[in-house]
Symmetry: C2
Subunit: 272 residues, 2 copies
């Protein structure tokens, strides 16, 4: 997406943002990544609700839903299937961490092609590794998708092997939190479990959709502390995010799994 | 510094950076803030060494020292006394946390006027508060001045009172780490103590200068875990950074101090 990307900065076609933007200076902002299908942002109501919630945590004014939706649809005129990223920052600022409450934000919308391996990984599953980096506990920022993502960058730099689709991260206490860019679910005896994210991690929109789909289909799902042992003892594992959808895990370190029926069901439930 | 700032992006006068810059996307970069006096970057060798060290931790290619120094001096042609900020990011990237090692970085240099209260606070000291936010432990990123500074932003948003010059932060275990934008020193019985920063915080250049000055003048200085009790029992407290210099603390919550002799000595040693 570096050159020739479709980019809208505050509604104007532009390749650049102010050098004094606080998103650059401090990571002072939030973002969303989502699919555009046939020109329409997928699960838009949910995506916007999460964006607004994350903005609220940082005391950022969230751009209007209608405005964002119209701007996203402008991308749709260029290509029917795209991945769009919405960044909301606290705008340009004087030097220093201090900000004026209620100041105007900058919104940056970037669209690019969907990742080429998306469908294949949904169909065939992925190989996954365990990351060395341990996520820090910061309850004041946990769960929100803010622009301070160096932990994810460092964790993703731990491997170069293109056969490995994702890395699983634990926190400083050793509890499993999720992938570098995905949330994780384990299946055991027909029930789901996914990590509680009160101390770190990002509580994604697709994680929320899985939790709701499970409830709707009377599949038990616990949100709790998850150990490495829970993963290793699982009948199935799968990873989710708004772009990938559901990726069954076929291998995590030495342990392997066949494609599992629950992962398939979740894929089907989320596709409808 | 928002409008009409002096800004050089990769050596070119520009007000903007690419919207796909990883500094904006993930806070994937580092920065320095320093004084230009009579057009010359102060303590440049030290500043550059720290910049290069921080880049190395993130596996970023550090721009050439000579190049940066020349660009900083271009600011000096506009005004003799300025505050300059150097941001180095991992450049523009495709979507996703992954990066190619050895990729080209973006360097963004921004200059603005020195803060108006700088001299007064050095002379008269500052009033300081205790922040509620607790800094997370992340040894992989501790000590370096990276662009993930949301904790500082959140901490700085805890107060609006312009009479309060700084807030003191503790970590998740309750140990004192420093101010939102400063390092902290306590004086007790003629000896200095400053927090160890292996788990969080930024190990600033002026902190390093104080440690060396203390050694040179045979003042004992310990780098160790510092408790709130250590601060309250101190004969003097002072805060340091490269722009502020040395600020004696006159009040921290309910406790007050007169201007102390050691703080004055440190100011004098650093001024020479």
């Amino acid at each position: 997406m570096s050159t020739g990307s479709l980019i809208l900065v505050n509604g104007m076609e532009s390749q650049c943002v102010p050098a004094t933007d606080r998103g650059l200076a401090y990571g002072d902002g939030v973002f969303r990544t989502l699919l555009l299908r046939d020109g329409m942002p997928q699960h838009w109501e949910r995506q916007y609700r999460k964006l607004a919630q994350d903005c609220a945590v940082l005391n950022l004014e969230c751009p209007d839903a209608e405005l964002l939706s119209i701007e996203l649809q402008r991308f749709g005129e260029r290509a029917p299937h795209l991945v769009a990223k919405i960044i909301v920052t606290r705008g340009s600022g004087e030097r220093g961490y201090r900000y004026e409450s209620g100041g105007s934000t900058n919104r940056i919308l970037i669209a690019g092609p969907p990742p080429p391996d998306r469908e294949r990984r949904s169909a065939e599953g992925v190989r996954v590794r365990r990351c060395r980096l341990k996520l820090a506990h910061q309850p004041a920022l946990a769960g929100i998708k803010h622009l301070n993502r160096l932990e994810n960058v460092v964790a993703r730099s731990e491997w170069q092997d293109a056969q490995i689709g994702e890395g699983v991260l634990s926190d400083v206490e050793g509890w499993v939190i999720g992938g570098t860019m995905t949330n994780i679910f384990a299946v055991r005896d027909g029930a789901l479990v996914t990590p509680a994210l009160g101390e770190c991690g990002v509580a994604g929109v697709t994680r929320e959709r899985v939790l709701e789909a499970a409830q709707l289909h009377a599949v038990m799902c616990q949100v709790r502390k998850v150990s490495w042992g829970d993963l290793m003892a699982a009948d199935e594992l799968f990873l989710v995010n708004s772009v990938a959808g559901v990726w069954p895990v076929r291998q995590l370190e030495e342990r392997t799994w066949p494609l599992g029926p629950i992962s398939r069901s979740i894929q089907a439930w989320l596709d409808t």
